[in-house]
Symmetry: C2
């Protein structure tokens, strides 16, 4: 007998069917009757167990036992999907006889974050947790779909790298057959090199940051959605692309993730056709004038500043997204293109989402001489980045790109309070298990 | 003016257009006339340069210079796409004045593999090289598309892991904030745990193997396309899934990658609706009878054995794919489910593609007691795999899965002689750059 999913009951009214899944909830009544909620990959449905031999066959089983059921589909307006299963007979595929570390069949999981993460392999089975990661998969799908439609090529760049080039202090070291190697903190160099090959590339892959931070918004391994494109005018071309990507992802979610968005009560972000943008020094001037804090001349924005700017964008432009452009060159990496009219500032940007940095991007240098000068002025050697530099001897167009932190997108979208909740098995300074 | 791609010329006949790209080939005639092949992400087209000032404006430029061109589209039956560009005026975006390490505008790249890999950032620009990686991206897309259509959820599992659990000897060690961590050699444990959450999961991500092998078919970092599903009958359910995946990928390539398949002269594999399969000891018996080599009782097949079996499958079943099932338990990892009727052999399989192992898969154990027994019989401790083991206390259905090596698929499909040619920036014992 073909297995029927809980979401498919309505097409089988009156039929005898076979189902399989986890005993999500078991309610044993004094009368001997048992109500079982069966969870499968499509959702949850109710099984009404009345016959004594059927009741006996699941006697003693605890929640999360895996069962196979044959039963009759019956319309029941009171039931969640309008249908439930009667007259079941059970086959127990995998009995559970121990209590879960915490219940996973409540709307809210009542476990300390550490306890939850220690037991993620079962905790993630909770429908609200599943939904977060379904949404996360959909965001990656949306990202790829938008870029595929614009002629981008997906690439796979190496995660083991030979030199800790981008910023030596923050990479993990690996023992590599007696040599020292490192984990890539971003595909930055490789995606730029690939602009020379495919013009437009993207990658969705893990990145590794050895920064010893212990905050609710940082992790040491996360998924970066990177894009890079050639033949741009300047960073504004990249911003236009990013706007399309963000709007495309949101539209993908609306179409493909309605169930998860509803379950997680996601308030869909305001994302106008064109996102508002503010030039870095103007943002500082605005903060000074409207919040009395004088951060003018500082090289970066503090989280509180981003929050104020986010509120301003929402009120003034009805947008949950705001570009801050022109970050000072001194705070940007050596490959950043300066603003030709104001070279203390860069042709780069951050995209704030609900007042928090979500994306960093910008235009890159594209000529060998400019790289040589930039490295020299920062006291860096060409040797450290030799392979990458070679690319620019052989014809590179004006190009730029960005990187979106997938988990941070999910965190901001769904209103999670800790980035760890947006990762299946997070890695921080203390956590390497499970 | 909007940029027009070289593949779009036919829609602009007679128009003045703007193009941009790389000077792929430059032929300067004695008459002063110059023929430029312009390469962009869509292909290559020819620009005919006659006017002396236009000729002068590209004087001295070497191939790979990046240019922008305005010109008139003219029908020319002799030209590659039936159209070429006349009366050009050029803007040089990024001049090249050095010779390439080797020419990249020939049908065959004439460079030693090491030289090629040292200069991959330019070598990969060659159309035949581009095509390999376009195909590679399409294989990953096809893989995801098939599984998305079957209710699979994409997951991102950690690459930094806390214990070298799966097979201690072959993992890279990382310094992790004063602790020892490792690079994941596969997402095996995590994808199994995720069967408890989503029933059906897949991941396309890098894996890391610290094996000190120096062969044409092994690398220390590669992309693994992993899938795992619950509620299977046994390994045959997984084999049926894998057959659909392989056929789905091939069909995806036929639809989306016609240009690359043609350029690389790919002979599409024979992939019947159902792939032939042979039981491990029967394969050994067949080898003994037909090739006179007595490998009966050996725990594994040698490459030559696989080759013979591949030839047999092709001749007898018109299939480039062959399942070998029932590998001896002694050669399979502890989580492998035994064949209940013949417990020395396993419910696992390899899929040979043109006589070479492409995929390994099978049914896994799904009950805690069976894991406990399997670990004990192999002299392994439960502590080493504690987090993973917990999963099986809390209800896991019969499940199984497989892992396809993306680069190996491309190597076998396109007839490459070295796996390194199927990776943008390969990592082997000697190579960490670029």
């Amino acid at each position: 007998m073909e297995r029927v999913l809980s979401s498919e009951l309505s097409s089988h009214a009156g039929e005898r069917i076979m189902m399989a899944g986890w005993m999500h909830r078991i309610r044993r009544l004094g009368s001997g009757m048992v109500f079982v909620h069966l969870r499968d990959r499509s959702g949850i449905c109710q099984i009404v167990v009345e016959a004594p031999e059927a009741v006996a066959s699941i006697d003693g089983l605890l929640v999360e036992s895996v069962i196979q059921v044959e039963g009759t589909v019956v319309a029941e307006p009171q039931a969640a999907g309008g249908y439930e299963v009667h007259d079941p007979s059970f086959t127990v595929l995998s009995p559970v006889t121990e209590a879960l570390p915490f219940p996973i069949n409540k709307p809210v999981i009542n476990a300390h974050l550490d306890t939850f993460l220690d037991n993620a392999m079962v905790g993630l089975r909770a429908p609200s947790k599943q939904a977060i990661f379904k949404l996360s998969a959909a965001v990656a799908h949306g990202f790829r779909e938008v870029l595929d439609g614009k002629g981008f090529t997906e690439v796979a760049t190496p995660k083991i790298i030979g030199s800790a080039s981008e910023s030596g202090a923050n990479v993990f070291a690996i023992e590599y057959f007696g040599k020292q190697a490192y984990l890539a903190q971003s595909p930055q160099f490789y995606k730029q090199m690939m602009v020379g090959v495919f013009e437009r590339v993207y990658e969705v892959a893990p990145v590794f940051r050895a920064e010893p931070h212990q905050t609710i918004r940082h992790l040491n391994e996360y998924v970066s959605m990177d894009a890079e494109m050639g033949f741009i005018k300047d960073h504004t071309t990249v911003m236009a692309l990013l706007t399309d990507v963000i709007r495309g992802i949101l539209s993908y979610l609306t179409t493909h993730s309605a169930r998860e968005l509803e379950l997680l009560k996601v308030e869909m972000p305001l994302a106008p056709e064109s996102f508002p943008h503010v030039y870095f020094p103007d943002a500082q001037q605005w903060i000074f004038e409207h919040h009395g804090e004088d951060c003018r001349g500082e090289p970066d924005l503090a989280p509180q500043h981003e929050k104020w700017l986010g509120e301003w964008a929402k009120e003034t432009f009805q947008s949950d997204f705001l570009f801050v452009t022109g970050y000072p060159m001194v705070k940007r990496p050596f490959y950043t293109a300066p603003n030709p009219d104001d070279p203390k500032y860069s042709n780069s940007f951050d995209l704030l989402f609900r007042g928090t940095e979500l994306v960093t991007g910008g235009q890159r240098l594209n000529k060998f001489e400019d790289y040589a000068r930039a490295l020299e002025s920062r006291g860096m050697t060409q040797e450290a980045v030799a392979g990458y530099l070679e690319t620019f001897r052989f014809g590179m167009p004006p190009h730029g790109g960005f990187a979106i932190g997938l988990e941070r997108f999910i965190m901001q979208l769904t209103g999670l309070t800790n980035l760890r909740e947006a990762v299946l098995f997070p890695r921080d300074m203390e956590r390497l298990q499970p």
